[in-house]
């Protein structure tokens, strides 16, 4: 995991959930930073091989940190600011066609 340095400027705590678990980050964190600070080292399962993947570049280039945010899939965790009460979910493999669409 990543840990916060002890003598940082005070920033407000931000609460969110990741796969249903309650967590806290700080104002100014990206989602990726907040997840890494909470010991979440991998955020998705690769759609091709099923291998776990984690944030890699932290600058919006690699698309490894894709997560579902408040129901919207394929958001770049490193490019999305953490907000209070965000519901963040890992992405597990390729998306299935929902029953609603396939019928």
């Amino acid at each position: 995991m990543f840990r916060r340095l002890p003598d940082l400027a005070v920033r407000k705590a931000v609460s969110f959930t990741f796969d249903g678990r309650s967590m806290q980050g700080r104002e100014g964190d990206s989602i990726a930073a907040a997840l890494l600070a909470n010991g979440i080292d991998h955020v998705r399962v690769h759609p091709v091989s099923g291998a776990p993947r984690s944030p890699y570049c932290l600058m919006g280039v690699c698309f490894e940190c894709l997560v579902t945010v408040n129901g919207v899939g394929n958001r770049q965790a490193c490019q999305t600011e953490l907000r209070d009460a965000m519901v963040i979910e890992s992405q597990r493999g390729a998306r299935a066609v929902s029953d609603e669409i396939s019928q």
């Binding site: 990543f2 100014g28 890699y56 932290l58 280039v61 690699c62 894709l66």
Partner: protein, 474 residues
Amino acid sequence: MKTVTAHDLAETYDLVVVGAGPAGLSAAATAADHGVTVLLVDENASIGGQFYRAITTTPVEAPGLLGPDFWKGRPLAQRIAAAPVSYLPKAAVWNIVAPTGPAAGFEIGVSGGGAARVILAHQCILATGALERPFPVPGWTLPGVMTAGAAQTLLKESGLVPSGRTVLVGTGPLVYALAEKLAAAGAPPLAVLDTTIGANWSAALPWLPEFLISRFAVKGLRLLAALRRCTRVISGVSEVALDGTGQGVERIRFRRHGGAEETLAVDYALLHQGVIPNIALSCVAGCSHDWDPLQLCWFPTTDATFQSSVGGLAIAGDGAGIGGAESALIAGEIAAIGAIGRLGFVAADICDGLIAGKRRQWSRSLRGRRFIDHLYQPGRQFRIPANPSTIVCRCEEVTAGQIRRAVVEGGIGPNQVKAFLRSGMGPCQGRLCGQTVTELIAEARGVTPADVGYFHLRPPVKPVTLAELAALKR
């Protein structure tokens, strides 16, 4: 500076600047100071780009930790704050269409905050900077393996450091600077595995005198001395592989000068072997590119004002060739003066005089760079994987062996190979594999990367939702 949302945007701007790093900030401020209407679009939540990331918002207050070079971004941040610029943060530019006639403008597709817009710009400056060169070694997709730049970002933006056994792997100033910063922050790396090629010294040596009188010299030598005090430096690393389980990286295997295999148990491996221009938007806009045989990367060809082969579109800073933050800042000013001249805000002869002066300043800022480029040119084995099972395209999990086979089967360039294997078709659109695919094919065919070419990139270069597209005004 006025922060705007995608909803607030005007239909037309004299100048749109993409990217709020050193080049983009100085370009936007320079143009706005001359009365040009400027929109500055950026992906991040705050200004600074990568080098000056979070310059106005970082929680890291101890000035020594981020270093004096970082805080040099402060005057630039103050300058842009005072300039009459419209600033659209947290937004992605996903398309640029060059004007079809002299009266038309660039059509720029931009989205942010759930809304997409297509706006017009008479002139455009791309200041989208650089990205870290891919480092395709076995196991580089394991959780816990990140770039050195990623660790820099986490430190600047959130004051985070890796906790656990961390190794830095690679070559170039950023590796050493990060090791020193992590040590100063109380999280010294276990080791630096230096992949710098010893033989590079002979090519670098003729440039040593120029380096020694440059602004890099004192800084660089001080850094290298400090490095050996704060961590274990393992030089001459000629081979690297990362092993792990489903949970992440567990150990790094390496050889020195092709010798016996050694291992270290690790929790994090931070990779870096230099940076290359981010050419996604210059490709989509139709600019001509060339291969730099020294920096080993594609770059858009530009004129004295950094105008690309597409008239009215300039590329300033590392996006036009790697020079670093200080030279990017000057390049931004030059590109802005060029745009102001073409817009007719300042007479051409006055612009020419200003540009000549700034070009001299820009050349001086690059002094010492040649030495660095030669010395830290990454080794072939770390750019063009010999191991056939090494993943090259992370998004579609395409290996080096598959790409070599595709060449034998008639894939003469990146676009044919893409059609065969999907390499470059995933969410990153080839940003993390394009360079490797080009070099792999060139090696397999025995030709130069310039002969092989690059992916045809098509819009949108960043994801846009269907809802955003559907809501676009026509």
